[in-house]
């Protein structure tokens, strides 16, 4: 990771080129709309990568933050608030939710933490379904206005492609910056040893809550863009299966670097196509993939690529990366 994050500019440049290249290749193709969704997922998954990869916390409740962001943005813009302000509100509200539930979560670790976030997810799903005066219940909210930045109204697939991928790119860039920063390094220290981190003067609880809030806020931002893009939202899209898919995307893409979020998001878009013939057994396949990834690819595909790169070009063994999930690189 370090060897690679020392020169993240190269990878960020490649990402920018890929974003432009994909547009030129697929312009007018139905795949553009799939890529818009991928960009939105990449934003949310970046939050999960930072939470898990930097700080070792797991969330099975991110679809709830995604939903809170989507409903916040939908309700406000339907009421006449400009979308840019609605996005800011979605970020602020999901960030605040993250901070509030982050405090009791401080006492929990690993799978206990994941189960507690799942409980939050279920509560939020009930609220979205039950609070009909505001959310219109299970029938969902339609006619959400398109996104707009000042006078520029975002219409058509191409416009959403640029909007969502520019935001996704900025999130990855921010994630890469954070990873290398003082706070990022402190979060990594907390992940290895909380007592030793505290002995460095790091306020462990405060930072754990902060990263949880940031992670939730990124999900909220993704949700806000999602609502305007699809123009119709209903609670079922923000349930536990969606949370599970997002976490699967993060782990599959790789939590050792923010770039893993891009891979995870693309896989999340491709996977349903691949497993489409299985229909009702889709979730079962997800479960199997989940188990296989945690056993054999603890750093996801990004980790696999980096491991291969290091092996081919010499240099550092990817041991530091493997250690980040607390597992050995069993199968790779």
């Amino acid at each position: 990771m370090k060897a690679r994050l020392d020169r993240p500019q190269i990878l960020l440049g490649l990402l920018a080129l890929a974003i432009i290249g994909a547009f030129l290749l697929l312009h007018g193709n139905y795949l553009i709309s799939a890529l818009v969704l991928a960009a939105i997922y990449a934003i949310v998954i970046t939050g999960l990568v930072l939470l898990t990869g930097l700080n070792g916390q797991y969330s099975l409740g991110h679809a709830a933050f995604f939903g809170i962001g989507a409903y916040t943005s939908a309700l406000l813009t339907i009421a006449g608030v400009p979308p840019l302000l609605a996005s800011a509100a979605a970020i602020a509200i999901t960030g605040a939710f993250g901070a509030i539930i982050g405090v009791p979560l401080l006492r929990l670790r690993g799978y206990y933490l994941a189960v507690a976030t799942l409980a939050f997810q279920l509560i939020m799903l009930s609220v979205l379904n039950g609070w009909r005066q505001v959310t219109l219940g299970p029938s969902g909210m339609a006619n959400i206005p398109p996104y707009a930045i000042g006078r520029w109204v975002v219409r058509g697939e191409s416009a959403y492609y640029w909007l969502t991928w520019i935001v996704a790119f900025l999130c990855i860039w921010g994630g890469v910056n954070l990873w290398r920063s003082r706070i990022g390094q402190a979060l990594l220290a907390i992940k290895s040893d909380e007592a030793a981190a505290a002995a460095m003067g790091i306020n462990v609880s405060a930072l754990k809550v902060q990263i949880f809030a940031l992670s939730a806020a990124l999900a909220g931002l993704g949700g806000s863009l999602y609502a305007h893009y699809v123009t119709f939202i209903s609670p079922e899209r923000f349930g536990p299966i969606a949370s599970f898919e997002l976490l699967l995307g993060a782990l599959l893409g790789g939590v050792g670097t923010p770039f893993g979020a891009i891979l995870g998001a693309l896989l999340l878009i491709a996977l349903p196509e691949v497993v489409a013939p299985l229909r009702d057994y889709k979730v079962m396949v997800y479960g199997i993939v989940f188990i296989l990834v945690s056993l054999y690819l603890p750093l996801g595909i990004a980790g696999l690529i980096q491991g291969t790169y290091v092996r081919l070009c010499g240099g550092r063994r990817p041991g530091a990366l493997a250690a980040q999930t607390g597992k050995t690189e069993a199968g790779a």
């Binding site: 921010g174 994630g175 954070l178 920063s181 990594l188 030793a196 505290a198 460095m200 041991g319 250690a323």
Partner: protein, 245 residues
């Protein structure tokens, strides 16, 4: 200090004068590490108090104690295993740096400049312990002796006023132990007060200005190295006594 139903320390009271190396010895289970954990607020004492400079730091949280300038190393070496040698020491500068999450996300010039400064400082700390050639190694991949030195460099990066060293020579060979001894001796010149727990008596006698002896959680002696070496009760505590049941 009552701990898990046992009195681990009782009525232990001593002062560590600034700019000195103060030793703390005692047989296994005497309460030395417990005392360190009380000072660094990992374990709250059931009674008694810890004073640092002029303030009462009893019951503060561990990160606050560190922020006041008390650094420590751990008996069983606790490095940040996912980070490189340099990154470990840079985390040690956390106490006197200030860039927050936002300036980190946006990579603000102020945060970048601060990080350059801390990197230089971290390299200096590594240079001091002789590890500056190993900057990009994984901390975990270092041999044990170098891990101890890295932990020392990380603690020095806090710019501590008081440094608690918990058996810094345990597991080291003769040459490494001598090197650690030299490093410890040079700390007061850097304005660092040292409280040292160490089983290696030769090392302890060669660096400590004064020594406190604990046995079964009670202070049984305090004095210079020579006084302690001649103290009958200390010798009994170490060699064992048929009468102690």
């Amino acid at each position: 200090m009552a701990f898990a139903g046992l009195v681990a320390l009782s009525n232990v009271s001593f002062r560590v004068p600034a700019g000195r190396i103060h030793g703390l010895i005692g047989p296994n289970g005497a309460g030395k590490t417990t005392l360190f954990n009380v000072i660094t607020a990992i374990i709250p004492p059931s009674s008694g108090s810890v004073l640092f400079e002029t303030r009462d730091i009893t019951g503060a949280s561990p990160h606050r104690v560190a922020r006041l300038g008390i650094a420590r190393t751990f008996q069983n070496v606790r490095l940040f295993r996912n980070q490189t040698v340099l990154e470990n020491v840079m985390v040690g500068t956390f106490r006197h740096t200030g860039a927050g999450m936002m300036s980190g996300l946006l990579r603000l010039p102020r945060a970048v400049a601060e990080q350059r400064r801390t990197e230089t400082e971290a390299v200096e700390c590594l240079d001091f312990v002789g590890l500056s050639d190993l900057i990009d190694r994984d901390a975990e991949a270092l041999p044990f002796g170098q891990q101890r030195l890295l932990e020392l460099a990380r603690a020095l990066a806090l710019r501590p006023k008081l440094l608690l060293l918990d058996e810094p020579a345990a597991g080291l060979n003769h040459r490494e132990t001598e090197k650690v001894g030299e490093l410890i001796r040079s700390l007061p010149a850097r304005g660092i007060t040292v409280l040292l727990v160490e089983h290696n008596m030769a090392l302890m006698m060669s660096v400590a200005d004064a020594i406190v002896v604990l046995n079964y959680g009670v202070k049984i002696a305090e004095g210079t190295a020579d006084e302690i070496a001649a103290n009958g009760e200390v010798i009994r505590a170490y060699l064992g006594d048929e009468d102690i049941g």
